[in-house]
């Protein structure tokens, strides 16, 4: 029985370690990072994982060992010991150090993500409009200003320039949604009644899946979208084409 008890703990530990080791190869891992912030988030995740792993293996090892040793049949009694102040202080200090490290380690990334001071100057690149259960996006039209009659509009696909900071304004008309692009490691709830800013830099052109991450009713699971990143040149061309199409084909917008 004691072999079983200690064995299970050891096996579990091994399984956990192995599973996490193979997951990237199995595709059970982060999608490839596609934004600048994504790299610092992944780095943060990785070294926190290392810290956790050490704590985990350590604690499980001690646990298994204590059980395996302790459960042997023995006639004598255990030593009566009510504690040891030195030990308490020791491990408290060690853990405290680890926690402080984690706390400090994440501050720069959090600031880059959310500190208003880090928000790119100049107006928003696009307006994101979430509603049950689809996404709509507006871009500045011919006049180059957002929120005017000649705004361009696309549904379910958000087109953005790559390689430069972009600023989005997120709005919802009905319930709370959440703008989640796994490849960019970005998630921001879209709360009705307020305009939420979100900024980031996409590294390279490509198409990335957009997921609604906040429960928003029956269609929540299917509220999918895309983010298509273009090089600056392509992006300008795309906008220009849209403006043209609008002038010729009138306000009847092309989806």
């Amino acid at each position: 029985m004691r072999h079983l008890a200690a064995g299970i703990v050891v096996i579990l530990t091994a399984v956990v370690v192995v599973l996490f080791a193979v997951s990237p190869r199995m595709g059970w891992w982060f999608p490839p990072a596609a934004s600048t912030i994504a790299h610092s988030i992944d780095a943060l995740f990785d070294w926190i994982t290392v810290v956790i792993a050490i704590g985990f293996v350590l604690v499980m090892g001690l646990l298994a060992w204590a059980v395996w040793r302790g459960a042997r049949a023995r006639a004598d009694r255990a030593r009566t010991s009510h504690g040891h102040l030195g030990l308490e202080i020791g491990w408290s200090a060690a853990i405290a150090a680890v926690l402080v490290a984690i706390a400090l380690g994440q501050l720069p990334t959090w600031a880059a993500l959310r500190d208003p001071a880090a928000m790119p100057k100049g107006g928003a690149t696009a307006m994101v409009d979430a509603h049950q259960w689809a996404w709509r996006f507006q871009y500045a039209g011919a006049d180059g200003v957002l929120g005017t009659v000649d705004d361009l509009e696309t549904a379910s696909e958000l087109v953005l320039p790559a390689g430069e900071p972009v600023l989005l304004t997120l709005r919802s008309r009905d319930v709370i949604h959440s703008f989640f692009v796994p490849a960019l490691r970005l998630k921001q709830d879209v709360v009705p009644g307020r305009a939420t800013p979100l900024w980031f830099t996409i590294e390279r052109p490509g198409t990335y899946e957009l997921v609604c991450a906040e429960l928003c009713g029956l269609g929540h699971y299917a509220m999918a979208g895309r983010v298509r990143a273009l090089s600056r040149a392509d992006y300008d061309a795309w906008i220009a084409a849209r403006v043209q199409a609008r002038l010729t084909r009138g306000t009847e917008d092309v989806r």
């Binding site: 029985m1 004691r2 459960a71 042997r72 049949a73």
Partner: protein
């Protein structure tokens, strides 16, 4: 290996003489009930704390917050509730002095004051509603009616409790603990109101 057979210990098993038949069904001792009431009121305080916190958050983040309230009514309401709580306190003192009838009188008076409070508040609600200030009209309205309403319900409980113990306490031999607790509760309701009235009428 498996565990050693459990040492079912029968040495302690010989039935002992002198079973302490605890006279528990006669209810808990006074000190316990008093402490229990304090703990309950503390928890109640957190309830109003939650409501007030919500009020403060909403009001501070709102640009259009109008409460068309009449301060004079606020003063009157406060006076009535303070009076009720003072009477209740008086009742306890009379009781300590051994006069059950005196206590009963003060308790009923306290209940009347509290009832008057509710009356005035009903009138105020009616007036405000007439003036178009309702829970549905504005957020300020929502907050005002829910806060005063939640407090009003507590006052109602107070009225019943005070009146009830006012009637019971007359009968000699009956426990007098409930008088003390009723008074304590009334003080609490009064205290909460002092916060609300400042928040709603003067800030």
């Amino acid at each position: 290996m498996t565990t050693a057979p459990l040492p079912f210990d029968s040495t302690l098993d010989t039935p002992r003489a002198g079973h302490v038949a605890v006279a528990w069904d006669s209810g808990p001792p006074v000190a316990t009930a008093r402490f229990g009431t304090w703990v309950f009121l503390a928890s109640e305080a957190f309830f109003f704390g939650g409501l007030v916190a919500a009020y403060v958050v909403l009001r501070s983040s709102s640009t259009t917050w109008i409460e068309p309230l009449d301060e004079r009514l606020g003063v009157l309401l406060t006076a009535l509730l303070v009076a009720s709580s003072l009477c209740a306190g008086r009742a306890v003192r009379r009781l300590r002095a051994g006069s059950r009838s005196g206590a009963s009188g003060w308790l009923l008076l306290a209940a009347v004051c509290a009832l008057a409070f509710l009356g005035v508040q009903a009138f105020e609600w009616h007036e405000l509603a007439q003036a178009g200030f309702t829970p549905r009209s504005t957020l300020a309205g929502s907050a005002f009616y829910v806060l005063t309403g939640a407090h009003g319900l507590h006052v109602l409980v107070g009225v019943l409790w005070l009146a009830g113990s006012g009637l019971v306490v007359r009968r000699a031999g009956k426990s007098t603990l409930h008088v003390e607790l009723a008074a304590l509760y009334q003080h609490f309701v009064d205290l909460v109101w002092l916060f609300l009235v400042v928040l709603l009428y003067w800030l």
